[in-house]
Structures are given as structure tokens and as C-alpha cells.
Symmetry: C2
Subunit: 204 residues, 2 copies
Amino acid sequence: MARRSEHSKEQIREMALAAAEDIVEADGLAGLSARKIAKQIGYTVGTLYLVFRNLDDLVLHVNARTLDALFAKIQDSLHKCRTPRTCVLAMGRAYVDFATENPKRWNMVFEHQLAEGEEVPYWFADKVNMMFQLVQLQLTPLLESQTEKKIDLVSKTIWCGVHGICSLAVTGKLDISDAESIHVLTDSLINNYLAGMATTLKGE
Amino acid sequence: MARRSEHSKEQIREMALAAAEDIVEADGLAGLSARKIAKQIGYTVGTLYLVFRNLDDLVLHVNARTLDALFAKIQDSLHKCRTPRTCVLAMGRAYVDFATENPKRWNMVFEHQLAEGEEVPYWFADKVNMMFQLVQLQLTPLLESQTEKKIDLVSKTIWCGVHGICSLAVTGKLDISDAESIHVLTDSLINNYLAGMATTLKGE
DNA sequence: ACCTGAACACCGTTCAAGT
DNA sequence: ACCTGAACACCGTTCAAGT
């Protein structure tokens, strides 16, 4: 066989990632396999290993795209807010909305774990950190007198909290699943945490 | 072959669950397989299917044990606290400690997802709800004037938040992983959320 | 009655061989 | 140079057949 250069390596990569996204959107990470991807793009399994190190590597790249889309959506949400508090609320809502609109893909980002020895590559860790920085940026005006370390703590606490609510809701471990009901929890978390923060700072 | 009743069905179940726990503790859910369990208990794969519906069913039972152990640990933590706030803090710390001490088993509880059509059995959902009720029980004195629905919202928000911090930390998605550093986040979440709650109630 | 072992339909990954 | 296809070592699940 060996069809000759119908597609460049870059094209095959692209096709494989798109096919993987389709399969995950339909059947989740559990439904994904190298053989299915290969079949969908009209190549043999072996070809995938010319273009990705292994399946973990491929999944990592799908997840990177998911994080990019999520980041864009959260950044967008910042156009319709004015105060730090309402901006963090908007970001929380954008996060929840993305997760409920793309549950399988969003879920895969957190479900997937690398094998014991493997390190998350720097370009992936960067994408995660950019999300936290977006939260930090909003909170800084509220915490001007605070150390960088404290601002980091506050951002992480809020964002992990929002993530926890979202995560348990989307995977059906809460008895809640529509976006509106989830917003009630994330709003409550952000509003009360920030209100508590304010009284603590005043009392200092 | 066909060894005759060396063990009762109950005993085989027990042996299989214990073996599965061992394997998960060592290699996580990804390292678990029916064939490995069978080998470790000296039976053939087929035998497992005489005693469990399938591997998902077996995992569900391992997870149930993990939740039981977690519940016991959290309940224990309530002996060394006096106020609602310090009790919730103690529970949060107990949760984080359990997760960092048994990362692989704790992780499997949330990593594992049933196939599309499958419903989480009631006896499993019950165990999850008992955890939330333990939090609710502590918070009720703080929220006496509130509706049951509101108390439910507050408990879920706090507990999901604690879970989110724990989850991202234990799976290495934060740059934090020792229990002490995680406690700083969960304490911050609980203290500030409750403080914010208090000012909101006063303002009503 | 209790358990086996072989079979079936799947996996991820590699790599000699074909064009 | 590019890609194949067969091989290897694994899966979960079933079920006729053995004792």
C-alpha cells in the first residue's frame, strides 16, 4: 500500500485530533482508542505513532485545545463586567457554562492522568497557569495591600472551589446538573468568600 | 480442575476486593484488571464473574469501602472540636488527610465513571449523601433561621469547594501536594466563606 | 455445584517489509 | 520517504465442558 504523501504530517496530526475530539464528545475518554481514530481518518494505527509519541501524547494535545477554548470563553466573559467581584462571578459562570456545554471534553482534561513517571509537559502546565493568572488579575485590585503569596492563595482557593462544584455536578455526583443550579453554588462561593475576605482585611 | 468449595462465595468476594485494593494502591485504576485480581487470589478470571456482575461492579464495591473509611475518619475528627466553625475545619482537614494518605484509592472514587446507561446504585449514592449530611449537621446551628434548602446549598458549596482543592492538589494539577499546604487553602475557603455568610445574614 | 480454560472481540505499541 | 499490516502482549466478558 503506502499511499504517497496525500497529506502532510501536520495535516494528519490535525485530522487525528479532530477525529479524537469527535469520538470523545460522543463516548468520552473511555470510548477513545487509537484504532478508532485511525479508522476515522483513513490511515492505519501505525501512522498515528509517526505523528504522536503515544495515545497519552495525543490526549494531551486534545486537552490543550479544550483548555484553549475554555480560556477564550472565560476571557470573553470579562467584557460584560465592571467590578472585580462581578468579573470573578462572570468567570465562574463562563467556566460552568463551558463544562456543561462540553461535558465529555471538559471531563477528559481532569480524568486523564499520565503514567507514574511521566511529567506534564511545560506547554501544558503553562495553559493551566494562565487560567489562574486570569483570576489573579481580577482579584489584585481587591487585595492591593497583600503579598503576592496571599493573592496566589486566594485565587487558587476560589478557582479550585469553583472547579470542585463544577466537577461534582457535571459527573453527576451531586443531584444537580443544569447550569443554572450550578451557578447558584458558584455565585454563593465567590460572593461569600470575598465578603469574608473583606471583613478579615478590615479587622487587620 | 474445578477445586471444590475451598472458599465460600463470600470469601472469594472478600479476597477479590482486598486484592483489588492492593493493586489500586500500587498502580491506580489504570493498573487494575480482572486478570490481575484473579491471579492474585489464585482463581481464574471466570470466577470473578460468578461473584461480581462485571469489573465496574467490583470497582464500585472497592469505592464503597473507601467511602466508608473516609466517612469514619471524618466522623472521628469531630471529637476534637467545639464550635461549628472549628468542626467544619476539622472535617475539611480530615478529608484532605485521607486523600493525601490514600491518593490512589481516593482518586478512584472520582475517576471511575459508569457506562452511559448505568445508574449509580442507591446504596452507593446513600454513602455519598451521608457525607454531605455530616457537614449539614455541623452547619445547622449557624443557620438556624434559614430554610432547609439554604442549608443544603451552603453545605454543598463548602464541601464541593474543599473537594475541588483536594482533587486538583492530589492529582498534581496545582503546584502544591503536601497536606499542610493544602490545609491552608481549605482553611481559607471555610473561614472566609463562613465569615461572609455571617455578614450576609446580619444584613438581612 | 463449582470452577476452568478457551474463545471472542477488543486494546496500545512496535517495526520489518512493501511501494 | 511514507505507510502498512502483522505481531506481541495485553484487555473484559462469556460459556461449554470438565470434575
